[in-house]
Symmetry: C2
Subunit: 437 residues, 2 copies
């Protein structure tokens, strides 16, 4: 029936789907995680600037902004996509080479509010959109990323338009056109990493998804081949274009199940080491020395030896491992402070931690070797891609969300995501916590 | 002082400039031409859809939309950029490989209204932005276009941000950041040619320019290298990157002076032949036969032999040349009709017109050879890149604008562009003609 990459994806995005229970549960956890990241990200400078632009412009208040206030759906998608990625603490999908939630959930929640849909429908549309963005990320592949494109934003725009378009009831030919039209503005360069431009890239994807879905729903006609045809997005943007791999099992297998959540508010390169050390139950007084082995690429990214600032701590194996051993919660944003770096116990412990490159390890794996003062040696290795037990993960995502938004709010948001009410209710809860009503 | 492509461009975009009188006069003509194209383009389906989206959203009415109504500046830039390109009748710059006005004037007029600036300042900012977009178009080069990128939109976004940023008073480092930040969303694929996506690409560029300039003015920090640095826009988007060529004479020589205006409301591939034939003073009864020679690339683009529809006529050498010989104004939109195609005199004459490919001609040149019934033979050749006398050009742009917007309105708009009042006044005139006040 269908005969191309775009038509298979469009068919998937517009038809009934039967996600696995695991995929649904994980999408719900990702929504909680995304809401917590958005809630906690509103005071970042980039968030303040984007909120200001949207609130000054005003317009029909169809969806809620993180931090309060409402605006038209495409504006909200752009602003919330940016805010929720501002801390770089949202979920990650390694095959996608990006962060699915910030582009897709931002688009789905904005459109869902405008269309007055209930949460279950919005979460399902978001899950479909995130699955599609993972597939597109795979199709674009490593070459696209290595060339300089930010897959969170590029693949994310396709996921965003799929989620928003599904909520709007696009049919398959319309969805194909939506993929073709969003292709003419899907963008985002890694050159903006380390600046406000990184989260903005995610916001652009979310905003483009909503805008394009609205245009197609209104009768806009575009060339669907702009996505995957000759001189379409893939071929002009260094996409690898392996459609068979990207389509394998579509509708049956949910690649979204491999989503990773960040449990430490620091550079992702540090997480495998923290997880490995966590399993050793480190306690500072017992540590004679600790040796970390990690993939060589991280040595230039996050191996600051003795940072003095909270920002530096986020890029320092020695600092975050010392924090963990001292019981300083690495999931909380406020743990990464200049004061933490000045802690004398931490500074002393840091000197007993050693970091080595090991090119036999994958980028997502780290190995730690602990020598205790009693002479015993313990070793552990962790791969961020290894499956995490769902109930463990649930506990940790909830704890992280509680750290970011407070225990009470986390519990209320969690409950409403489980029960499923109107999509606006979630944001009403956040607004209330912000002192808005 | 300055040391890179981006800093030279940013220096140019933020400092005092001394445009030649010719460049200023042409910018004024391009503004008239752009306003006429926007005025005449509002009923195109893509225009109706984009206007509807903007008007439904509402928001602070800071600038006027073609067709009436007002909206925030970045929204207006996007919508007006689309509307003014909807007829594909706006100006062209061959070295830029694109249409400078639609992206840059749309951004400049929207920001100029929001900032309540007078026309001379807005026109100067637009001229600077258009010159910059030509330079960026040159820097991206033919490879970028051949790969599949739509230079009107990609190079256009840089010109748009320069014009809007200049009006907002960005300093040089800010302008560099603005170029870097717009680079992360500058986009547009030729795959959308022939669909509503083509004019939308132009609108995206104009909207991005205004949005990014506003963000940078508000303190947004971005990586300026995102434009021309490693993994910046040029290197990721198949840019040729010849900065020396693109910067040659910047500030002294105004490449914008090579702007072409379209004087026929049909495919650009037909224009050189129409201009050549025009110089022969064709009159149907005298034509025994007419032979056109043109670059081979046009044979598959605009050589429909006997179209029956107005749309087909726009892609047919034989039809437009017959129209010209019969005194049917090829500058007017309504001349291209099914009725014209049905005209028996036209159908008979069309049979006496022959089209041949000639690869010795450039893409912008055509040759016509007329055999009159009296046995005399006349020949003429025209290159669209050959300079046009300013007063001739002025007469023809004004006549075209009068055809699109009516004689009175054209005269009023022309006068206000010459005298220079508040930027909003121009749009008030258009609104009045639309029956709005």
């Amino acid at each position: 029936m269908t005969n191309s990459f775009r038509s298979d994806l469009a068919e998937f995005a517009t038809s009934n789907v039967q996600p696995t229970a695991l995929a649904r549960d994980l999408a719900e956890l990702s929504a909680l995680d995304w809401l917590a990241c958005g809630f906690a990200g509103v005071d970042e400078p980039v968030s303040v600037i984007l909120r200001q632009q949207a609130l000054t412009e005003g317009g029909a208040p169809r969806a809620h902004l993180f931090g309060g206030g409402a605006a038209p759906a495409r504006v909200v998608a752009k602003v919330n996509g940016t805010i929720s990625h501002a801390l770089d603490y949202d979920d990650t999908h390694f095959a996608h080479i990006g962060h699915p939630s910030v582009a897709v959930l931002s688009a789905a929640f904005a459109s869902g509010q405008k269309l007055e849909r209930a949460l279950p429908e919005v979460l399902e549309a978001a899950l479909v959109g995130m699955e599609l963005s993972v597939r597109v990320g795979l199709w674009l592949g490593r070459d696209h990323y290595q060339t300089g494109f930010h897959q969170t934003a590029t693949a994310g725009a396709f996921g965003a338009v799929a989620a928003a378009g599904r909520l709007m009831g696009l049919d398959r030919p319309q969805m194909e056109m939506a993929l073709g039209l969003v292709a003419t503005q899907a963008a985002g360069l890694k050159a903006q990493f380390g600046t406000m431009g990184k989260p903005y890239n995610a916001g652009l994807a979310a905003g483009a998804g909503v805008e394009v879905a609205e245009l197609i729903a209104a009768g806009f006609e575009a060339n669907a081949q702009g996505f995957d045809g000759p001189q379409g997005f893939g071929s002009t943007h260094h996409g690898e274009g392996n459609a068979n791999t990207a389509l394998a099992g579509l509708g049956q297998d949910w690649l979204f199940e491999n989503i990773s959540h960040k449990f430490h508010a620091c550079c992702h390169g540090l997480h495998a080491a923290l997880e490995a050390a966590r399993s050793l139950d480190l306690a500072e007084p017992e540590v004679a020395s600790l040796t970390v082995r990690t993939h060589p690429r991280w040595m230039t990214v996050c191996n600051q030896l003795a940072p003095e600032s909270g920002l530096g701590a986020k890029f320092s194996y020695r600092t975050v491992l010392a924090m963990q051993a001292l019981g300083i919660d690495t999931a909380r944003l406020d743990s990464y402070s200049d004061r933490t770096c000045a802690n004398t116990k931490l500074r002393a412990l840091r000197e007993r931690i050693h970091v080595e490159a090991d090119d036999s390890l994958s980028e997502t794996t780290a190995h730690v070797s602990l020598l205790r003062r009693d002479g015993q040696r313990f070793e552990a290795q962790h791969d961020l891609q290894s499956p995490l037990d769902l109930s463990d993960r649930e506990g940790r995502v909830c704890a992280k969300a509680a750290g970011l938004m407070g225990e009470d709010l986390q519990a209320q948001v969690r409950a409403i995501l489980k029960v499923g009410g109107p999509t606006t209710e979630v944001f009403s809860l956040l607004d209330k916590e912000n002192g808005l009503s």
